[in-house]
């Protein structure tokens, strides 16, 4: 991948980011004034007005926008109203949790799907294949939040072997990871299975077989390579989705990630938090996309990144 | 002499811009009279298709003019263009691609009528469709089928029937049989010849197969790298081609005359077709020509009568000598 290519993409990403941040600026402000939320209901009108002035909300939207744009250019994301500290600090505490959660779930899903998918494809039409098919369809269709609740009910409330929620050692990650794991796993098994079956029927594999290569090698070198490409693409898309936080799952488990932060931020009209999270997520997505492209190129030399 | 049906003058079609555009069609002039069939031959990539598409107004002309029945094709717009479409129709090369697979035959055939309301009233579409199908050798019940239910030759008949719906005066046939099996080719060519006679159609018949061209054409035109390099009556071209390229093409055609078999040596051209973006200087054929001399590098030969063969125009510096040697 050439450096100029990277620059070109970065430039486009920066433009898109600017557009998004600008729309986010106006959108969050349209969601309503935070003042009522931050003052006791018994506070006087004068106190409300004073807070508006203090937050600069009394000025015209345009004036606020220019101030904000200037701060953005100097990467100043402002102070979180709720947390009462720099918004970016708060975001950067939550982001690694989300990324780790998403990465663990996706990597596990990817590995499991490659394994399951190829087993199903090799046994195409048989009992194993049908079983895998049903399982993966179910996994791809199960609502993650529901899975989370049922997990809590079963493993935490009934058997008491896993914590209900929260954050801490590895054991706290089991249920959230399992919930996020389901859908990517189901989707990827379908894809791996489908493209492997196709590849196994394709001429080049027959050729390879005719040349006397052992069956195992045929399957895993040719067909797998063929199946990896779409699997990587889909995983990349999913990774981009997860970067925005396994929103619902994070809420279910009280997991301190960016998705929960963002939802809370909007609920609490914490403009700075919302904007900083959007920014951070967008940057992460940009790098994920680059990473996927590089992976793509390394799997299939025919794909030239351009 | 009456005014020709189609008069093409200095027509060019270039692709791309900047210093070296691709000159797909470069300064081409020719005429087609009413009822006349002009054969156009050349290798693939020589600009035949671009010429056809320009005439059909599927792409803009870069310069020059083409006048059909007094109407300037290159400048026609709006209703003038719409009228023009009626007079000039096309049979495409690939009958699998040129028929929308999702439309039933009756809709396919009547599509032009739908686009030119007033020509045939809707109530008579069915009747006319059946008539057309029968005239191209298909049956009435075929009207209710989809293109996928037909063989290649049948599809091309459908294509021809559809081209005739508007009763055009000029039919452009862009390699109409090259996608078909040899056994079917003759049937379709014969059909075209028959229709031409019946309807007094003028045709521009494009092909790379000389045998087919010979069968239907009155006159023949040879194209190389966007230029016409030789043109003349069928007899002259086939019996006494003056341009080395034409000769090379002819040598590949099996002769119907058994006496001549074995006497003619097959000329195999060396090298590939040069890039039309950067054609050779002087004569464009010189890079593959066994007769090329220095003059060919320096001067571009004009399309002029160079031999005694009647009506034959050749763009070759060495055409006269060739003729002389033959004698």
């Amino acid at each position: 991948m050439s450096f100029t290519y990277f620059l070109k993409r970065a430039a486009f990403a920066a433009l898109a980011l600017a557009a998004l941040m600008t729309s986010a600026f106006f959108l969050v402000r349209l969601t309503g004034d935070p003042v009522n939320l931050y003052l006791p209901v018994d506070a006087s009108d004068a106190a409300r007005e004073a807070m508006r002035v203090r937050l600069g909300l009394d000025r015209s939207l345009l004036a606020q926008f220019f101030d904000w744009a200037w701060d953005m250019l100097s990467l100043d994301f402002g102070i979180s109203l709720w947390h009462n500290r720099p918004a970016m600090d708060v975001v950067l505490e939550a982001l690694p949790n989300t990324l780790a959660l998403g990465a663990i779930a996706l990597v596990l899903a990817f590995i499991a799907a490659i394994g399951m998918g190829s087993i199903a494809a090799v046994n195409s039409g048989g009992w194993i294949d049908r079983g895998v098919n049903v399982l993966s369809q179910a996994a791809a269709s199960v609502p993650d939040f529901w899975l989370g609740l049922m997990g809590v009910l079963l493993f935490a409330v009934t058997f008491r072997i896993l914590p209900t929620s929260g954050f801490g050692g590895p054991i706290y990650w089991v249920l959230p990871v399992a919930c996020l794991f389901a859908r990517p796993f189901g989707t990827l098994v379908q894809i791996v299975r489908g493209s492997m079956i196709e590849a196994l029927n394709a001429t080049f594999v027959r050729t390879a077989r005719a040349k006397g290569a052992r069956d195992g090698r045929v399957t895993f070198v040719h067909a797998l390579r063929n199946a990896l490409l779409p699997a990587v693409t889909v995983t990349g898309d999913l990774a981009a989705q997860f970067a925005g936080g396994g929103g619902v799952v994070e809420v279910v488990f009280g997991f301190p990630g960016i998705g929960k932060l963002l939802i809370d931020g909007i609920l609490k009209r914490d403009f700075a938090i919302v904007q900083a999270s959007i920014f951070a997520v967008a940057v992460v997505i940009f790098f994920i996309n680059i990473l996927v492209d590089m992976l793509y190129a390394s799997i299939d030399p025919r794909v030239r990144v351009e | 002499m009456t005014e020709p049906l189609l008069k093409v003058q200095n027509l060019s079609r270039h692709f791309g811009s900047g210093a070296t555009p691709v000159r797909a069609v470069d300064d081409v002039s020719f005429e087609i009279a009413r009822g006349e069939t002009l054969g156009l031959v050349g290798e693939s990539g020589c600009g035949k298709t671009s010429l056809v598409r320009t005439l059909l107004k599927l792409g803009p002309a870069t310069s020059g003019s083409a006048v059909l029945d007094g109407v300037e094709i290159t400048k026609a717009r709006g209703s003038e263009l719409h009228e023009l479409r009626r007079n000039m129709q096309v049979v495409f090369q690939d009958p699998y691609q040129s028929l929308n697979p999702r439309m039933r035959v009756d809709r396919l055939i009547s599509e032009p009528w739908a686009l030119h309301p007033g020509l045939v009233p809707k109530a008579r579409w069915r009747e006319e469709t059946v008539k057309l199908l029968e005239s191209v050798g298909l049956r009435a019940e075929h009207a209710d089928r989809y293109p996928s239910e037909f063989s290649g030759g049948q599809r091309q008949r459908l294509g021809i029937a559809r081209a005739l719906t508007l009763n055009p005066t000029l039919l452009v046939c862009d390699e109409p049989v090259s996608a078909l099996d040899v056994s079917v080719q003759a049937q379709v060519v014969n059909l075209l010849a028959k229709l031409r006679r019946e309807r007094n159609l003028a045709m521009l018949f494009v092909a790379h197969d000389l045998a087919v061209v010979r069968h239907v054409s009155d006159r023949v035109m040879v194209m190389y790298l966007g230029k016409i390099i030789e043109t003349g009556p069928k007899q002259s071209i086939f019996s006494a081609p003056a341009h080395p390229y034409t000769q090379a093409l002819m040598s590949a055609v099996p002769t119907p005359d058994p006496r001549l078999r074995g006497h003619r040596k097959r000329i195999v051209l060396q090298g590939d077709l040069p890039s039309p973006a950067n054609p050779p200087s002087g004569c464009r054929f010189r890079t593959r020509c066994w007769k090329a001399t220095s003059i060919c590098t320096e001067q571009e030969p004009a399309l002029t009568a160079r031999t005694a063969a009647p009506g034959l125009l050749t763009a070759c510096h060495h055409a006269d000598t060739e003729f002389a040697r033959r004698l």
Binding site: F145, Q241, G245, V248 | -
Partner: protein, 305 residues
């Protein structure tokens, strides 16, 4: 070139044979059969409820959180009762009409809008096409949840807004596919032919491009139906979608969360319903894709032997 024309020659029987063939193809996929049956049951249930044949749905605080599988009760109570004593089964059916209705309307909206925009972008290109595609890039570049959050906060979480937000966030996918397909179809010879007959842009778009693009778009839509359903459930679960007293499966799970340890069935059954229905849509979409792909027909037909 495979020419299956002989299979269908007599024109009159074409259509009825096609239906027969579809039935055969469906029978070749037992999972698709199961999916079709499930969806049929759901649709029938919705219809029965629409004709108010399901009986009493009144709040009855005495029957609050009645446990399921008590077969001594009237059959509507076999799945238990909800926190306000309403039969859970009836609630599930009412929620089904919201959930599935929203999914259908959303998919239809984004299908129509996305196809039109994509076809326009692909056929005409130029500035309009570019603008459309760049907007798509931006929407696609950011998490759907975020776009949805904004939309719903801005306009309030009503059913109409939910549909709009979901449709807008799904639309870029349709636009991209429609555009790519159009770019391909646009170059086909039959489009040139239509132009030579004097067909203008509108004519070509309407009679040639749209019908050619449609099957792909329909396949995409059938896959999306499942996706939208899951997404709506998620939003409703977060309190951003359907609001009480309306009811959707996602909202039922959310409300059931408060009864996780006291009345598990309140959240369990609606989640199960989401899963079954989503799965059915997925399976049928899969089947539909194979049916529409001649190179894969054998998968459905050969199984019968």
């Amino acid at each position: 070139m495979t020419d299956r024309s002989t299979e269908f020659l007599p024109a009159r029987e074409h259509r009825s044979r096609r239906i027969l063939w579809l039935a055969r193809a469906l029978a070749g996929d037992p999972m698709a059969v199961a999916a079709a049956i499930w969806l049929l049951i759901v649709v029938l249930a919705i219809l029965t409820d629409a004709m108010s044949l399901l009986g009493d749905n009144r709040i009855s605080l005495k029957a609050r959180n009645l446990p399921p599988f008590d077969f001594g009760q009237p059959w509507t109570l076999w799945l238990g009762a909800d926190a306000l004593g309403r039969p859970l089964l009836v609630r599930l059916v009412q929620a089904a009409s919201t959930t599935i209705g929203i999914a259908l309307v959303t998919v239809l909206t984004s299908l129509i809008g996305g196809t039109l925009l994509g076809v326009v972008a692909g056929y005409f290109g130029g500035i309009i096409g570019n603008v459309i595609m760049r907007i798509c890039d931006i929407i696609l570049g950011f998490p759907t949840l975020l776009v949805a959050l904004f939309g719903l906060y801005l306009f309030g979480p009503s059913v109409g807004n939910l549909v709009i937000v979901l449709a807008v966030t799904r639309m870029p996918a349709y636009i991209r596919v429609a555009r790519a397909e159009t770019l391909e179809v646009r170059e086909r010879l039959f489009v040139d032919a239509a132009r030579v007959f004097g067909g203008g842009s509108t004519w070509i778009l309407r009679t040639h491009i749209l019908p050619s693009v449609a099957p792909t778009m329909l396949t995409l839509a059938s896959v999306n139906l499942a996706m939208v359903m899951l997404f709506e459930s998620g939003l409703s679960y977060l309190g951003l979608g359907i609001q009480p007293p309306s009811v959707s499966w996602g909202l039922m799970v959310a409300q059931g969360q408060g009864y996780l340890s006291s009345a598990w069935w309140l959240g369990f059954f609606p989640g199960l319903a989401i899963m079954f229905t989503t799965m059915s849509f997925n399976l049928l979409a899969n089947w539909f894709r194979i049916v529409n792909d001649p190179s894969q027909h054998w998968r459905l037909l050969s199984r019968r032997r």
